[in-house]
Amino acid sequence: MDTPVTDERRIQELAEEALSSQRTPEEVCRDAPGLLADVRAHLARVAEVDAELDALLPGSGPEGSVEASAEPALPVIPGYELKGLLGRGGMGVVYRARHLGLERDVALKMLLAGDLAGPRELERFLLEARAIANLSHPNIVQVHDVSAREGRPFFTMELVEGGTLSQRLAGTPQPADSAAELVACLADAVEYAHRIGIVHRDLKPANVLLTPAGVPKVSDFGLARRVTGGEELTVTGTILGTPSYMAPEQIRGGPVGSGADVYALGAILYEGLTGRPPFRSESPVATQLQVLSREPVRPALLNARVPRDLETICLCCLHKEPARRYASAAELAADLRRFLAREPIHARPVGWLERAYLWGRRRPALATAILLAAVLLGFLGARVARDQALARERREQAALWSPRIDDLFAELGGGNLVQARSLLDQVPEVLDAELRERVARARRELRLVEELDGIRLQRVAITEGRFDRSENRRRADQAYAEAFRNAGFGSVTDAPEAVAARVRAAAVRLALVGALDDWALCAGDGARAAWLLDVARGADPAPSPWRERLRDPALRLDEATLAELADDLRAKRMTVQLVVGAAERLREADVDVIPLLTVVQRAHPGDFWANFALGDVLWADTPAEAIRYAQAAVAIRPRSSLAHQALGTALRRAGRIEDAFEAYSQAVQVEPDFAEAHGRLALLLYQAGKYDEAIAAGREAVRLDPGLAWARFNLGTTLTLQGRAAEALEEHRASLRLDPDSVLGNQGLGECLGHLGRWREALASFQRTVELEPLPVHHHNLGACLERLGELTEAENEYRRALALDPVHRSSLKALRLLLVPTGREEEALALFHAESQAGPDDPEAWNGYAELCAYAGRWEEYERVCVELLERFGTVGEPRTCERIGRACLLQPSGERRDSATALIERALAAPESVPSLRPYFEMALALAELRGGRFESALALLRGKAGAVLAPTPELIRALALHHTGATAEARRSLALAALGFDWSPDAARDHDAWIRHVLRREAEELVLPELPELLAGRGEPRDDVTRAALIASCLSTSRYTAASRLYAILLGEPSALADRELRLRVARATARAGAGLGLDPAADTERALFRARVRAVLRLDLAACGERMAQGLAGHAGASALLEPWRKDAAFTWLRETSGALPPAERDEDRALWREVEALARRLDVVE
């Protein structure tokens, strides 16, 4: 799109004007009609932006958009909440409304009541409209509900929000292919309706709605006739607006059939190609005259780019005589598709056009007079018809219905059940005796066929949570026997000839033979199957050899066989059920049945089973194709919930989530007890992040069918995610009972138990996942679980197993390193780093922490090497955080050659425009380190006085100690070191990430410089001279696992830990003391002192338990805090002895610990339950 800049600005202004003034694009573009299309497109984008904003940044109240409707009062309709006016049309007013039960938005159309004078008329309208509501086609706006409110009929329908076709066309010719494609789609929809006996009669671009994705949908099907009472002409077009799309016979007031719709489709195609309808004049009457009297101008004269074939197709639709147009919308669609495929079309550009044209030119006066007379006669006829309508109706009813009932039987005989049902539903109650009798018979037979079909459908459904083909067949076998017996056809003990004779006599013979064929499949290969084959053969009007051939195991589906089969199918020499059933058997024998089913579908494109079965074999591998067949199946049987479900599955597979959602919703709407469809809806809702709704749908699925293992798993997972692990547990357990060998099921249960803190139980589930599917992720999960349980060796083994399968499994690498470093195995951790960085050398994440760990482990040679590589590889990266991290990592050595490049990286991070301000202090701290290394001590100290001094404590304090020392401020340096020493848990256990490693490295450096006497003190030689030295000594003791010494020093320095006000410090002291109390570390104390340490720890725990109780008393708000208080006690390795009440302790202490631990557990449970 290359719109000039000035236009772009103007378009924006106009769009804004439309938004602010709530005027239509047409209105604001009155002075700039050339920009209308652009303004509309821009407004559409604004709507998309709004939707995206709503999703990302949801508003807080209902006032999301500006358009506060100026419409005064909206009508009140029970069950709906009307939300605003969508538009007004000739037929009524359309509102946006919310269906309160289903919680979905619909369009609600309130009709003008004018022409539906009395209650009887209204009733008839409703009856007819409900038949239309049964129309279900992807290109027809779905009508949901038809009803009346205070004598005014209304109906609700699918909300289609992409505008109308007339808005889209807006006078611009479309590319030939897209116009042809569009009209082919519309013709499909029209054909579908025609086959059910519904003619639209008012097709025009304004009646074609577009979805936001551009899918056209025909609206107002069949309503035009009723609402306007067949009086289109009498009011000179004011009701219907423009007659531009109206067929001549419609204007004349003659009988109107499907040909009128074909004409209208042609007119729409004409407008698509040329930008204007075939006839348009200043007044409706003048237009009508043109329609009657003139030939349309050839499209190619208006738009030279219109291909000749397409022009021929278009003009063929616009013939004045219906008989000369396409015989059906299907033929039109087929020709359009031939055009699109660049195949020869069937319509011929005949010479009549020129001849008529020449004739009219020779004798213009006569031609006009004849046509005018025709128009006037049409007018008169319509008036008389209206006056006599009621009387004539009564008289003509029998005459009218008799042929329609003939049609009904024809449809029954042809096996077209949907059409038969539709006709049957339209038959009025009052009929003469003979007709009544025929209708009753039709009704009976149709009901039987529908029942048989239901048995067939049930056969492919999931029952009691699983799909068991042979069990389903067994049930179907019984059901068929019962249905045939009940309908008076006899039972399996009767002679096959007698039963066959009864079947032959039925109008629905063909359908019955189909059912017999399916029954035979269910009956297997025994005597019963032989009997059924006999019956079917006897009942079949033309017994097909295929009945035997398809059962022959030696059958080869080569091309010749398929071609022969196709011919016989087309000639209706066998039933679709026979072949589809055979395909089912072949598929079980691993034969590729796609070619076979494709043949069936091609031969019977309008057959439900042909489409359904083909869609069913295609959905997994070629969902896009499966969608077409599933759509066809849905169109043929809008009331088949299975077909909707199959469509949904194919759509979902193809990634069309919203459409899939719609399809599943339809399935549920058609059959509210359809458990599986509820389950799928839950899945889609979950994926859309609508968890509460997903839980509700999942619950419904499980309620309807407790045996749906996957639905229970999904429900459990969703509940866990929502923090409702206790409820989730039940679902996961049930799911596993149903399907004990499911990997996901076991994993779900394990995770759920983990959520509840029940790691011991979770272990079995994680172990099972590994047995079932030894994938790295499962080993990792098992390892994580073991680690939680304190079984570190086992955990390590699992991580290693994960890594054996995938050497760069990042989460396992990380977890393993975290296990190795605290236990002093830095070398192994470094080896892992080495392997990871070699495997993905260009990913900064693979290097993250490598250099820091080298420094922590004192491996300075490797450190040098890593730093060189880091700067080489990432010295020019732009991402601020990476810059800072690498710069910092390369400054851990007091002197280094890389000082300048590292500093440059940190400066780059600080200068980067996209860096987040809240990260600035971190970057500044890194810069302080750089200044320290560069000898700019004052500058470093100045930086640390700012925000940089408050991050990653106590690192800034350590840098400060170093800088102060270098400036000669020894006393201050000592104080800083002491503060830092108290501000962190220096035990190897806590050295779990690169930040901690940096702290240790800097602490060691500071200790060496500031307190050179520390090693002597640590070795037990001499006494610390003051508190500052004591504090520093604590850090050294902790880092070398001298917990007893550390605990003693803590006590001297700080007194009883339970008296400390700072919770973090208190916990740090408790941790060291707990380790000393357990006799861990290099300097275990005597028993009595250990007991003293343990008592101190218990005092701290009691303090936290009390605080926890207080928080909980504050209600929900306090709960999170309460959990946080308990967390370290439940998880920290230092407190293991407290939790496990080890047998080594004296009995009195053991009881004390048990009592305390029970309290912890009880509180934790309460927290979990309330959460």
């Binding site: 990634g655 994926q687 987040v916």
Partner: protein, 211 residues
């Protein structure tokens, strides 16, 4: 968890204000504002977290959402505290800016995570990814917000980031509600222009075959 931290941080802020009352306006007002901005940011972040990778928060996988949110909110509050805005309007200007940055940062981090496994359709183990590219989408939108005109950005920030009504926004800016709506509309139109090339075309949903 996030809530505790938030409350604690607000308290800290108030303490500081009490110690130096000249630093900002009426503490009561600031308390309300701060709490509101923090709650709002937390909501927006959790919407994003939940939408993008529903399973991130599940054990024993990856990410602790609560902790992450806590840290984000803490940073916001800290930033606001340190900036000591002179007026409510300035306060929200800063809050808007920080929230955009934080959301952007969060979105970026989300994109770095591989989506965890998802719900099942059959228990045989079908895996489907979470909503793809959400992080990128968010960042795009935030970048577009950044490029709006001054007035439009301010209004959209108040309404969309802070979740205010038009009347509230009008009061803070000292203009009429109509003006707010006009700026909002202009902002929407500008956004549509900025995002024009970024919004997906109406191509069919894509027939990608899952694994």
């Amino acid at each position: 968890m996030g809530e505790m931290r938030t409350t604690a941080a607000v308290q800290l802020y108030l303490d500081e204000l009490r110690a130096r009352p000249e630093a900002a306006g009426d503490p009561q007002v600031i308390r309300a504002l701060l709490g509101r901005a923090a709650a709002r940011l937390e909501l927006l972040c959790s919407v994003m977290l939940r939408r993008s990778y529903p399973r991130l928060a599940r054990p024993p996988l990856n990410l602790k959402a609560d902790e992450m949110l806590g840290a984000i909110v803490e940073r916001l509050i800290k930033a606001l505290r340190e900036a000591r805005p002179a007026s409510v309007r300035e306060f929200f200007g800063l809050a808007n800016q920080h929230m955009r940055w934080e959301l952007n940062d969060l979105a970026r981090r989300l994109d770095e995570h591989t989506p965890a496994l998802e719900l099942a359709e059959h228990l045989e183990g079908v895996r489907t990814p979470g909503e793809p590219g959400l992080g990128a989408k968010t960042r795009r939108m935030l970048a577009a917000l950044e490029h709006l005109g001054e007035e439009e950005r301010e209004v959209l920030g108040l309404v969309r980031l802070q979740g205010m009504t038009h009347d509230e926004a009008a009061e803070i800016l000292g203009v009429s509600t109509k003006t707010v709506q006009r700026r909002l509309n202009r902002g929407r139109v500008q956004l549509a222009t900025l995002l024009k090339d970024l919004l997906p075309d109406e191509a069919a949903g894509g027939d990608s075959v899952g694994s």
